[in-house]
């Protein structure tokens, strides 16, 4: 039994089912990120944990207590909203202590809690201002402060960074991570941003269409995505997905691909069990950083396969250069060192790290396990 248990939870609006039997156990101190495209049900799930939406079926338990039907204020949770939801008519200090006031905490105690949190978040100087006088980043801090003051069992974050500009978002991301490492709180965090999910979480639940597609550590999600959806949703640029056929050569399974000029390449798989797929089509998944120039290839990898192909477009992006080519009729992106000498229209020798390649069953779109 976890610290926060989501057991077989279902949500329907009339005949429309928006969440299908969600089952997640969150341990104490864990940072769980629910990530997925809009409409995947992640916010609904968060709202159900908060008690803001009713549970159609299943149970949610916090610290072993089933909270179905328990009023949000009695679940000992705190929530940080996308719009920050600061009460416009109250000062920062009043905003942060409103919850304690509602729970009948005496004033001196409230003030002490407020002072502690304000110091932690370095917002002591803002306490007498109104939310309207704050910048986006300051509001974000106050919203977190309001949650922290309550000292809840579980923190819920609903896309808290999506209203900030790009730079501030990165800063606040680091800040939240630091805070979590320091306070060891249990967090459930909703976002549609896969980078946020990968950087912040201890575990990620990737959601789509009301189902949890994969639940795992960031590394598991990134390296061994459970299916095509997870593979393409997590990571930027997205994982390249190329149709290929499995052929056997020297007793090893290989992926047969066609390059831009019709030439056939055979790339040896590290996964021996793919021999069972001989002669069948699969979908080959390769992350852009697994396709490099030979000098840039990962030296620790035991399976670097060279091949050459014509380059269509190069996009220098400062630290890296992204190179687009065509493989088996699909655009494939490779991530080069910035100083790699690549010219559009010309052929180039690439190296693929096949240890990082994954194969998907085209019929079920699930990853073929190793």
């Amino acid at each position: 039994m976890g610290f926060l248990d989501i057991r077989n939870v279902t949500k329907s609006y009339g005949p429309v089912q928006v969440l299908h039997r969600i089952d997640i156990a969150v341990e104490e101190g864990e940072f769980l990120v629910l990530v997925g495209p809009s409409g995947c049900g992640k916010s609904t799930l968060l709202n159900m944990i908060a008690g803001l939406e009713a549970i159609t079926d299943g149970e949610i338990a916090i610290k072993g207590r089933v909270v179905n039907g328990v009023h949000p204020s009695k679940r000992n949770i705190a929530m940080v909203f996308q719009s920050y939801a600061l009460y416009p008519n109250m000062t920062v200090g009043q905003n942060m202590t409103f919850g304690l006031e509602m729970h009948g905490v005496p004033k001196p105690e409230r003030d002490r809690a407020l002072a502690d949190v304000a110091k932690l978040l370095q917002i002591e100087t803002l306490l007498d201002r109104k939310p309207g006088q704050l910048s986006g980043g300051q509001r974000q801090r106050v919203a977190m402060g309001r949650a922290l003051v309550r000292n809840p069992d579980v923190f819920l974050f609903d896309e808290p960074l999506s209203n900030l500009d790009a730079k501030l978002r990165v800063d606040m991301r680091t800040e939240i991570k630091k805070l979590h490492q320091k306070l060891k709180t249990t967090i459930v965090y909703v976002t549609h941003d896969q980078i946020e999910a990968l950087t912040l979480s201890t575990r990620i639940a990737v959601m789509n269409k009301g189902h949890v597609q994969q639940l795992g550590t960031p590394k598991e999600i990134y390296d061994t995505p459970a299916n095509l959806f997870v593979a393409t949703f997590m990571g930027s640029p997205a994982m390249n997905i190329v149709p290929a056929t499995v052929v056997m050569e020297n007793g090893h399974p290989h992926a047969a691909l066609t390059d831009a000029d019709g030439g056939v390449h055979r790339l040896r798989f590290s996964q021996a069990n793919l021999a069972a797929w001989e002669g069948k089509p699969i979908l080959l998944g390769i992350r852009p950083e697994a396709i490099t120039d030979p000098e840039g290839a990962d030296r620790k990898s035991g399976n670097i396969q060279p091949f050459s192909n014509r380059v269509t477009v190069t996009e220098p992006a400062g630290s890296d250069t992204f190179v687009t080519m065509t493989l088996s009729g699909k655009d494939v992106i490779a991530r080069m060192r910035a100083d790699a000498n690549v010219t559009p229209g010309q052929s180039f020798d690439f190296a693929i790290n096949m240890e990082k390649a994954v194969a998907f069953d085209p019929a079920t779109e699930a990853r073929i396990p190793a």
Partner: protein, 292 residues
């Protein structure tokens, strides 16, 4: 008005502009004309109207018509002036406006922040009631007020105006609260505030603008009402009905100057409200009745 921008991209020539200004000024005169006529003629003796020119300024200024309209003119059969009716109107308007605004605020809060299945239907039914021709309810209302013993009383009129006013006040507050972030209500729920506490501590403090709109709208509508006043006023008739009685009385000489003074007296409260808070009034008409 929309805050987008004040200027259009249209540029116009000198002749067009002169024409535009001319038209705008002429219409301004058209709108001001009756006010001028009422004002000027309420300050002259009657013989200057019957024997002189309505557009002319008084040659002998006098407040007598105002005094007469206020305290001695014949209204119906009693020479009471408009004073008691003015008081009736005040006694009717103040509670009716207050009650309907409070109810409208609570309704708007429920309809936007505590939505339930069928809430749009409930609101639709209430909204339609703003637009019925009141003739359709006159007969049953007369019966019900009679049964309740409220016929011809100020409380009876208050009841009528509250009943047929909550549709509009609900509309205003609903539209206003609709744009109030629901996340704030959720945050307050998590903080442990209940239904009324959220209303009182979170929504009400920011409801000033719409409350002003609702109050002005209700005040003007109820003060200016004639149909309910004449139907159910009985011995507690409001100002509008009394003014009409004054003007339409067929006995004796027609004291036009007194009529004009009386008309201004009847218009004064709403005009004052309009001058003081007209900006909100317009905005309210826009927000409420245009956007439905």
């Amino acid at each position: 008005m929309a805050a987008v921008t004040q200027d259009t991209a249209v540029s116009t020539g000198r002749i067009t502009r002169t024409f535009i200004y001319l038209v705008l000024v002429l219409f301004a005169l058209f709108y001001l004309l009756p006010l001028y006529v009422m004002g000027v003629n309420s300050l002259k003796p009657l013989n200057e109207i019957t024997g002189g020119n309505m557009m002319a300024l008084p040659s002998q200024w006098t407040l007598e018509p105002w005094r007469s309209a206020w305290s001695t003119a014949q209204i119906g059969v009693e020479p009471t002036g408009l004073k008691p009716y003015f008081l009736n109107s005040i006694l009717m308007v103040v509670p009716a406006v207050a009650i309907s605004t409070i109810i409208g605020a609570l309704n708007g809060y429920v309809l936007t922040k505590w939505r339930f299945r069928g809430d749009t239907w409930v609101f639709g039914l209430m909204l339609f009631s703003c637009f019925i021709p009141f003739q359709i309810v006159l007969i049953p209302m007369a019966v019900v007020l009679g049964k309740l013993g409220l016929a011809g009383t100020v409380p009876g009129l208050i009841l009528v105006h509250v009943v047929y006013g909550i549709g509009f006040t609900t509309l205003y507050f609903r539209n206003y609260y609709a744009s109030f972030p629901t996340e704030l209500v959720r945050a307050a729920m998590i903080d442990g505030a209940g239904f009324f506490r959220i209303f009182w501590r979170i929504l009400l403090p920011v409801s000033g603008p719409i409350a002003v709109v609702s109050v002005i709208w209700q005040f003007t509508n109820i003060w200016n009402d004639f149909l309910f006043g004449v139907s159910f006023g009985g011995t507690s008739q409001p100002m509008t009905v009394a003014l009409n009685n004054l003007v339409q009385s067929s006995t004796g000489v027609k004291e036009y100057n007194v009529h004009f003074a009386g008309a201004i007296l009847a218009a004064l409260p709403t005009l004052l409200v309009y001058i003081v808070a007209g900006r909100y009034f317009v905005r309210g008409l826009m927000a409420g009745s245009v956007k439905g």
